[in-house]
């Protein structure tokens, strides 16, 4: 029991890989480095898929690229509605990033979403975008007035919601990733062969992608509510 707990803590801790020697040293965590690797992979895929685009006689590569882009675009757009169309590219980017980072555990990396700092940053960006969308759509006064709707008595709850929304977003993503990870580790200790593969399909691939989808779905739902 002691050994298991020790190994889990070791796996859950995010170590500092190196320190940038400016301003008294900025520590660079492992999650940041893995994020860079994921960014490089995504950039490489984008680069390969988007070379030599033509209007007529498209290649198979371009057909794949078009399919992926239109599918993801229409997926997010169906959630966010016509009004919030300008936020679709950001949401698709977040979807791809979270999806890739949740799967990256399969390739032996420590997934960045397992670090609470990453999910906090993601949800902070989401809530900033949500409030910005509201201000952009309605103007500052109308946006303030929205806090008192539908009746003035719910104002404290509406203000509280600005803080609970990102909290629940980041805790949901973090908890799911870490929960799946802990269960997989325990399973690997208990039954090292065959069974982990089956469960890995669910916990690593299905659940990881589902959580990316849920994160983007909730963000777009809030944005839709804000711009209405």
């Amino acid at each position: 029991m002691e050994e298991i707990a020790k190994e889990l803590v070791e796996q859950l801790n995010c170590e500092t890989v190196f320190t940038i020697p400016v301003f008294g040293g900025i520590p660079v965590k492992e999650s940041v480095v893995v994020s860079w690797i994921i960014m490089a992979v995504i950039l490489l895929i984008c680069f390969i898929l988007s070379r030599n685009l033509k209007i007529e006689h498209i290649s198979r590569r371009q057909a794949i690229a078009e399919l992926v882009v239109t599918k993801l675009d229409s997926l997010v757009e169906s959630m966010i509605g016509e009004e919030g169309r300008r936020y679709v590219p950001y949401l698709v980017t977040v979807l791809i990033y979270i999806g890739f980072s949740n799967i990256s555990g399969l390739f032996g990396f420590k997934s960045p979403t397992k670090d609470l700092n990453v999910t906090v940053a993601l949800s902070a960006m989401s809530i900033i975008l949500i409030e910005f969308a509201g201000i952009y759509q309605h103007g500052f006064r109308k946006w303030l007035h929205k806090f008192t709707e539908p009746v003035w008595i719910v104002t404290p709850i509406n203000i509280l919601e600005v803080f609970t929304r990102p909290l629940s977003l980041c805790m949901r993503l973090f908890g799911n990733v870490i929960g799946a990870f802990v269960i997989m580790e325990l399973l690997k200790m208990l039954v090292p062969v065959i069974l982990p593969t089956v469960f890995s399909m669910y916990f690593d691939i299905f659940d990881g992608l589902l959580q990316a989808y849920v994160f983007v779905f909730l963000t777009s739902l809030y944005i839709k509510e804000a711009v209405e």
Binding site: A5, S168, M171, G175, I178, V182, Y213
Partner: protein, 74 residues
């Protein structure tokens, strides 16, 4: 002391009961809906998976709390 910590973690996970009930009800209703309207299959599945993912979050919170109790209170 250790036994009490273990007990606390166990009690924290009791909250997962709600998620179980919620997902059960959601799945039951989805089955009913598919039986009534088989052509709306895709939409129902999509909504169901989403609802399950949201309902599951409460269980996940319980789990996080339990893990924190075990890891932090040592």
């Amino acid at each position: 002391m250790e036994k009490i910590i273990a007990l606390g973690a166990g009690i924290a996970v009791l909250g997962a009961l709600g998620a179980g009930i919620g997902i059960g009800i959601a799945t039951g209703k989805a089955t009913e809906a598919v039986a009534r309207q088989p052509e709306a299959d895709g939409k129902i599945t999509k909504t169901l998976i989403l609802g399950c993912a949201l309902a599951e979050a409460t269980a996940i919170y319980c789990f996080v709390v339990a893990v924190m109790i075990i890891m932090m209170l040592k």
